[in-house]
Amino acid sequence: MERPTDNDNEPQLPATLIEALKAEDQPTALITSRADRALEAQAAAHFAARRSTARDWRPAWYAAAAAAAVALLLVVPREPSINEGIGAQDVFYADVDASGRIDIADVLAVARSGRATQPDIDAFAARVVTLSPPGTAR
């Protein structure tokens, strides 16, 4: 009577599984440097073709974005700052009260009318008190 061995108690794999695992356990296929260079050249050619296609679109996209930016600058009004008020708000710089002189009384009239923003009023007043001769850039 043979003595039982440890192997007798181990689970047995199905034969089909054994055969499949043997088929996977094959030596790795070697790629020669010549084959490797050929594959690299083909890949480079493939992606170069894709890059040239993308580059053709960029100028048009850039032009469209630039045109949109210019359109926005022209259409959207800027809030004038007080620093650029002098010379820029001629609409309000006038002898409003017909006194024969443009002075702070005209500024008061414009301010009381509610037609002007505070920056407009400040710019008007700045022109009234400027020491520069008319038409002189400061």
């Binding site: 009260d97 002075d103 702070i104 009384a105 008061l108 009381r112 008190v129 020491l131």
Partner: protein, 151 residues
């Protein structure tokens, strides 16, 4: 060596004469008043020097009335660049008629620098003072300086 010492002594003696004019620069301030029987809502004046004191305006501040509680309008760039040998000062108020000042009111203080031998001969002119409706107020303008001179 004696010549070198002589040169040093001569240069040292002449240095005070070559000192810049800023050493003679003096400062003063002028309180400007409007005296009006009716409440006024806007005012404007011009201040200059009739003399030759080389006066420059170096600052402007608001006066005592709560209706004009912000800094008045004046040519800030000229003052900041040291080119304001005269000044035009003005302000307006949108306060209610009952809150506008009347009587003798300090409307501004003008700070001056001068380097001449004499103090500035201040010339002050009221350009306009109007009430809340824009009507010209019957007002007079005057000034006082710490040195006691007044007009």
């Amino acid at each position: 060596m004696n010549i070198a010492r002589l040169i040093v002594v001569v240069v040292a003696a002449l240095l005070p004469l070559a000192a810049p004019a800023q050493g003679n620069l003096r400062f003063t301030s002028v309180d400007v008043y409007i005296d009006s029987a009716t409440p006024f809502a806007a005012w404007q004046f011009e201040l200059s020097d009739r003399g030759n004191s080389a006066m420059l305006v170096v600052g402007v501040e608001n006066g005592a009335s709560p209706a004009f509680d912000r800094a008045p309008y004046y040519d800030r760039q000229a003052v900041q660049t040291g080119t304001a040998d005269r000044i035009v000062v003005a302000d307006y108020s949108l306060a209610q008629a009952g809150d506008l000042p009347a009587g003798r009111v300090r409307i501004a203080t003008v700070h001056l620098a001068f380097s001449g031998a004499t103090e500035p001969d201040i010339e002050l002119r009221l350009v306009t003072a109007v009430d809340a409706d824009g009507r010209v107020a019957d007002a007079a303008i005057s000034f006082e300086s710490p040195a006691g001179s007044a007009q």
